[in-house]
């Protein structure tokens, strides 16, 4: 058999189907949609929601930020993190420490210049740990840097040793448990179980005037949007694909010349930073940060929100967080005594019957509609479908 024969028997190879270069509009579509949603949230929601509900919505958005981060680390990177409460807490405490000092600075009743719990614990001067938090800039930087640093350190230590899957999940869970115990045990520094609460002012302005609350709301909405866009970009980059590759074949990735330790650590750190920002926003929104909100159960709740929304989709995860928390509020307001049943059933039903969450349901509906019209080949749902296991479609997936 000759070489020519060989060619003849080879499968017909048409010219490489290069991806069409997406048009500028297509590329901007995601950001434009997000901008429209932001505008809608800022302009329309206040017409329908009272101050309290608006505030609750801002709270849900804080959870949505955490969810976006988890969707990257878990949905894309396969790192099931059951300890994101820790990072949420670190961000929250960083800002709350500043706000506490700000309150004391203005409170003539606190002559020692110390938070009450420090006085009860017999401290006479402000601990070193607290001092830099008097500066708002330091506190704001710490909101991102502290969770980031802790996550980077832990991530590096465990990923380097190829601790993953269930091991990683359980370890994170233990981290959350240990962290809560640590915070509670260091009452003279942290306020113990009481947490930090009562933040009347920020940068000299009354935090609870309607105007200030409005500003907080705007900041939360815009931050959520920006974080979504940032994470969407990351997920859509080569790095995003690499993350999925590490999730599905960490060892194999090494033989492509990449070091999975850093790939994972980066995503984990990024998602911890998002959680830190969320925690910090939560503080002026809800007026409190306490250990109860950082432990194992709240951490699992974060992940559940992502599962419900759809772990493979950043937008889905964010929506999931809002929906799950809104459902929880609704259930508990209407059935104070039995809402846990409803919540439990919601979890079970969604996870059991919609493994790809709300986003998955939305996608299959969209796909069905699309098919019944006529396949429009290009443009996947913004930042969503890539990396999702697809049991369908041998003939190519959206790119």
């Amino acid at each position: 058999m000759t070489a020519d024969d060989t060619r003849a028997t080879a499968r017909p190879a048409p010219a490489v189907a290069t991806d069409p270069q997406p048009s500028l509009l297509a590329r901007l579509r995601g950001p434009l949609v997000v901008a429209a949603l932001v505008a809608a949230a800022l302009l329309v929601l206040p017409l329908f929601l009272d101050q309290f509900r608006l505030n609750l919505f801002a709270q849900y958005l804080c959870y949505a930020i955490v969810a976006i981060g988890i969707a990257l680390a878990w949905g894309r990177g396969g790192m099931l993190t059951l300890g994101h409460g820790v990072y949420f807490g670190l961000g929250g405490y960083a800002l709350a420490m500043h706000l506490t000092l700000a309150r004391i600075a203005e409170d003539p009743m606190a002559p020692g210049g110390l938070p009450d719990f420090m006085e009860w614990s017999g401290l006479e001067t402000l601990p070193l740990l607290w001092r830099p938090f008097a500066h708002p800039a330091f506190a704001l930087a710490a909101v991102v840097a502290v969770p980031g640093a802790v996550a980077a350190l832990l991530g590096w230590a465990v990923f380097r040793q190829r601790v993953r899957g269930a091991y990683f999940a359980i370890l994170n869970q233990a981290l959350a448990a240990a962290f809560v115990i640590l915070i509670i045990g260091q009452q003279h520094l942290t306020g113990g179980t009481n947490g930090l609460t009562d933040f009347p002012t920020f940068a000299g302005t009354d935090l609870y005037s309607p105007e200030a609350q409005w500003v907080v709301f705007v900041i939360v909405v815009i931050t959520t949007a920006l974080i979504y866009l940032l994470f969407r970009h990351v997920a859509g980059s080569r790095y995003g694909a690499l993350l999925v590759a590490v999730r599905d074949g960490e060892d194999r990735v090494r033989f492509l010349g990449y070091n999975p330790t850093w790939i994972k650590t980066f995503a984990y750190t990024l998602s911890a930073m998002a959680a830190g920002i969320a925690g910090a926003l939560f503080v002026p929104v809800m007026g409190i940060i306490s250990p109860e909100m950082l432990g194992v159960v709240p951490s699992i709740m974060f992940v559940l929100a992502v599962a419900i929304g759809g772990r493979y989709s950043l937008a889905g995860a964010a929506v999931g967080a809002v929906v799950m928390n809104a459902a929880q509020t609704t259930f508990s307001e209407n059935f104070a005594n039995g809402w846990l049943y409803l919540q439990g059933v919601l979890f079970v039903v969604v996870i059991a019957f919609a493994p790809r969450g709300l986003a998955g349901i939305a996608q299959s509906i969209a796909a069905t509609v699309q098919r019944s019209w006529r396949a429009r080949a290009t443009g996947g749902a913004a930042g969503s479908a890539a990396g999702a296991p697809q049991e369908t479609d041998a003939s190519g997936s959206p790119r």
């Binding site: 009860w120 009452q187 179980t193 609460t197």
Partner: protein, 384 residues
């Protein structure tokens, strides 16, 4: 659920909030407190309500989570516009709700003994402050001739503050503090501590453990063979409700300090216990926090009648001096601190799981949340 629209001022009902943990770890304690509040509301409604209006409770679940308490408080005040709220148990939940009530000028009735060092205009404290529980308990132990104490507590603000007070008191009264141990909330392994207690042989143990930990602690202490005769363990967070879960065998004979027991002999208590068991079952017991919560509703109603208004400012102005013959005996609101004058009592757990009074302060003790009236407490941190 959400009641009919409208503020508290119109219609023939008045809305009040009930905000306790119905789920999560604190549900163990708080559900019974909710039951007592409900009982008082039902009784008052039966008698024609307050200012001629029926009380309409709006119930929310604090879910053993501080942020949820803050959120639900905000909801009750802003969305439901309730006239007042009965709620909370842990100090953390109170601290979480406090700024919300202050900002919205609401009024919270908080029913549990606590660590003191607080007096908000927007909270009425119907449980004991430290000088009505911890200090009398120490007096009792001193009177009984105990000269060395071992302190064990859950790791949070109430036990830590209580132990500071105990330490200061001990120093002033020549009592030796052998050891001060804290365990995380929900801790269940007490072998290390019980064997240390066995080894150190203190005269008595002062126990500020909270919740589930008490069960493990007493069970494991009992396994070590330590009995109340050898070494009494005085508890300040164990009431009738907890005794059954701990197991009567394990705690029988040990003292507890409160203002009220199911066995307290007052006419009002006979009625209260009867009414409670009538409403919720013969097997149910009553306890100090339940009674304080029950009182709170009546005190609020009395203040409203006095003020002839549901407005918080009017009600607050009417608080000072409101009296009542409560199940625990006479109580009076101190308008300045918004705490109550209460009678202190030490009791001992009997074989039926109830508590028999063995010591009492006879007279109601004026509330002193900052312990300003005690010389030995001068060194302690306090704001005033």
């Amino acid at each position: 659920g959400c009641g009919p629209a409208g503020g508290s001022d119109d219609g023939d009902t008045v809305k009040v909030g009930m905000l306790h943990s119905l789920s999560g770890t604190m549900a163990i304690s708080e559900v019974t407190v909710r039951d007592s509040v409900q009982l008082a509301i039902d009784e008052i409604n039966e008698d024609g309500g307050v200012l001629g209006r029926q009380i309409e409770p709006i119930e929310e679940d604090g879910a053993s989570d501080e942020a949820t308490f803050a959120e639900k408080a905000q909801k009750l005040l802003q969305s439901d516009q309730v006239a007042t709220v009965f709620g909370g148990w842990t100090s953390a939940s109170r601290k979480a709700m406090l700024p919300v009530f202050e900002r919205n000028n609401g009024l919270l009735w908080y029913p549990v003994q606590y660590e003191g060092l607080e007096a908000s205009d927007n909270i009425v404290y119907t449980g004991a402050t430290t000088n009505q529980q911890i200090v009398p308990a120490l007096d009792y132990l001193a009177e009984e001739g105990h000269e060395s104490l071992y302190l064990v507590g859950s790791d949070y603000v109430f036990p830590r503050t209580a132990n500071q007070i105990i330490t200061a008191y001990a120093e002033a009264n020549g009592i030796e503090i052998i050891e001060e141990e804290y365990t995380p909330l929900g801790h269940t392994e007490y072998s290390t501590i019980t064997s240390e207690i066995e080894r150190e042989e203190p005269d008595a143990v002062f126990n500020t453990l909270n919740g589930d930990s008490n069960v493990s602690f007493f069970q494991q202490l009992r396994s070590s063979g330590v009995t109340a005769d050898d070494m009494p363990v005085l508890s300040v967070s164990v009431a009738e409700e907890e005794v059954d879960g701990i197991g009567v065998d394990n705690i029988e004979g040990h003292p507890v300090a409160w203002n009220y027991y199911q066995t307290t002999e007052t006419p009002a208590n006979e009625e209260f216990v009867a009414a409670f068991q009538d409403a919720y079952g013969e097997d149910r017991v009553t306890s100090d926090p339940m009674q304080s919560a029950y009182n709170a509703v009546y005190l609020w109603a009395a203040a409203v009648e006095e003020a002839e208004s549901f407005e918080v400012d009017d009600v607050r102005a009417a608080l000072d001096g409101i009296e009542r013959d409560a199940p625990e005996g006479p109580i009076t609101i101190d308008g300045e601190t918004q705490h109550l004058a209460k009678t202190a009592r030490v009791g001992v757990v009997n074989e039926d799981g109830l508590i028999d009074e063995v010591w009492t302060s006879e007279e109601p003790i004026e509330p002193d949340p900052y312990l300003t009236g005690y010389d030995w407490a001068d060194d302690m941190a306090g704001e005033e």
